[in-house]
Symmetry: C2
Subunit: 290 residues, 2 copies
DNA sequence: ACGCTTCCTTGCGAAAACGCGTGCAAATGC
DNA sequence: GCATTTGCACGCGTTTTCGCAAGGAAGCGT
């Protein structure tokens, strides 16, 4: 008395997404296959698992029950994968790193170069993503994150502290030098929809011209001369169209961390990568602070 | 980052049995297939899982690690199967009952007859087995057991109390009547290798001629006239070659229980079967006691 | 009301998984 | 010491599973 475990996984994913299409994307399968697996499971268990509606698959009570237990199995599987990764002593095979796009573009280049030269047998996967990948599920082995702590139950190595400053095009800089108290058009990054108060208070005669939920977009706008933007030092310095302007003195910004799940942390590849990271960040520390 | 769950199950079973052959029997697969799955998993995980020895497969540390977590998944799966069985309201589909051979042979016949007549859509599987099947793993939905309590964490219905008495062939009976204090050859059932003391003390001039670990075998020996055997009333009465002899007065024996895992207990088929059981045992109660 | 998108079903050819038979090595029994 | 049993590896033909493409129904915005 034992079901096909892969079919249980399929039921779990379909019950979560409530459509074959979304489930098949996650499973890396064709949705035809997913549909067939559901059919097979229903036949094997003698239970109807989903209502086939036009807009998707609606799980029955039985499917919910299965999903609950399959979730337990999934958790065990994730933990297994992490521990397996953590005790991997090889310097070969896949290694997945996730980092913010901007860090990869402007900071991490030499790190990646050095690491792949030093360990050619590792096939390094980079996931440039601003949204936090799930390290519990081992969607990545190591994450570079910009925050003030490693995060919940994760282990972290602080690579550097950071400062932010205000940057704009050279003609904005000239205008500000000419009239230091004159009005300034601010470009504001508010991922959370909230206005940073230090920006507001220090610039009474100025206005917030635009808000962005994406740093790349904001930097682009600054480069196009739309206004003055507060951004991490490393970014402003990396963009040749921008110069630092004295609107806002350099101020503390979020740190940069290398974080991993404690299960995965001790793996050989992770240690090797962190070694390269630490060396490089030590070397280029001056890029991040005034 | 997610392995093939069925392959994890395969690894678990192979690691348990340590041979492909045994594992394949449990999995209901050809061992070629099992070997291929192991190969595939090793390739996918990039880890050697088993040492291929002539006498079997020896799990590596990694395989042990996988097995531990796969065992968690297996437990979740078993629990799922039980709960799914327990909430099954249908009176159709498979239903597995296990019972001692002797009870099936001499007592349960009418029960099975009535049940299958009343519920023709149920396909009833009978596992005649003396060793306790694992109800946690749902190797059976319901078990008929001869013991003094339902067992650890199982739910039970006591079908009847029982008495045992001594039985032998008619000529043994005649001999005992002729010389009530004369020596008796005892046939003893000692599944645990231990001599029941009540047999010993009550028959000082007699000897224990033979021991059996199997009641069927002992009954056969008694039928062949090898001696006097203590056995449940229902069995002695069911065997036409035997008569009850006054060597040992009827005395309490183990009860007969219908037991099931509490998760499975409430299923419709289980309730229906218990209803038939209860009725029948009530009717034939006099078979079990003096 | 119309096209567009999303999603599911069905049929067909390709690919992967599977079972069977043969051959071989080691352990077991006489 | 030799036969028997047990267990694994390899090659072949079959079955099952899978992905692709076409067809159809329902929701959404214009």
């Amino acid at each position: 008395m034992d079901a096909q475990w892969d079919d249980l996984k399929t039921i779990l994913v379909v019950a979560r997404h409530r459509t074959l299409a979304a489930a098949s994307r996650e499973l890396g399968l064709n949705y035809t296959t997913v549909a067939r697996r559901i059919d097979r499971a229903e036949a094997a268990l003698g239970v109807k698992l989903f209502e086939r509606l036009a807009g998707g698959y609606n799980p029955t009570e039985e499917a919910e029950l299965i999903s609950r237990h399959a979730a337990t199995m999934e958790a065990a599987n994730h933990r297994l994968m992490r521990e397996l990764g953590g005790r991997d002593a090889r310097l070969s095979g896949p290694f997945v790193v996730t980092a913010p796009q901007l860090l990869i573009a402007h900071v991490l280049g030499p790190v990646l170069d050095m690491f792949s030269e030093a360990h050619p047998d590792v096939d390094l996967h980079l996931k440039a993503s601003n949204d936090l990948l799930d390290l519990d599920r081992r969607e990545a082995d190591l994450a570079i994150r910009i925050s003030h702590n490693p995060g919940d139950h994760l282990t972290g190595l602080r690579l550097t502290e950071q400062q932010s400053a205000s940057f704009a095009t050279p003609d904005w800089a000239a205008r500000i030098v000419a009239a230091p108290e004159g009005p300034v058009d601010w470009l504001v990054y508010d991922q959370l929809g909230e206005i940073p108060k230090n920006v507001r208070v220090t610039t009474p005669p100025s206005r917030i011209r635009m808000r962005f939920d994406d740093m790349v977009a904001m930097a682009g706008a600054a480069q196009a001369g739309l206004g003055v933007a507060r951004m991490p030092m490393f970014l402003g310095r990396a963009l040749p169209e921008l110069v630092q302007v004295p609107c806002l003195p350099p101020q503390p910004y979020l740190d940069i961390w290398a974080v991993a799940h404690p299960d995965v942390w001790p793996s050989a590849k992770s240690e090797a990568f962190r070694r390269v990271l630490r060396a490089h960040f030590k070397e280029v520390r001056s890029v991040f602070v005034a």
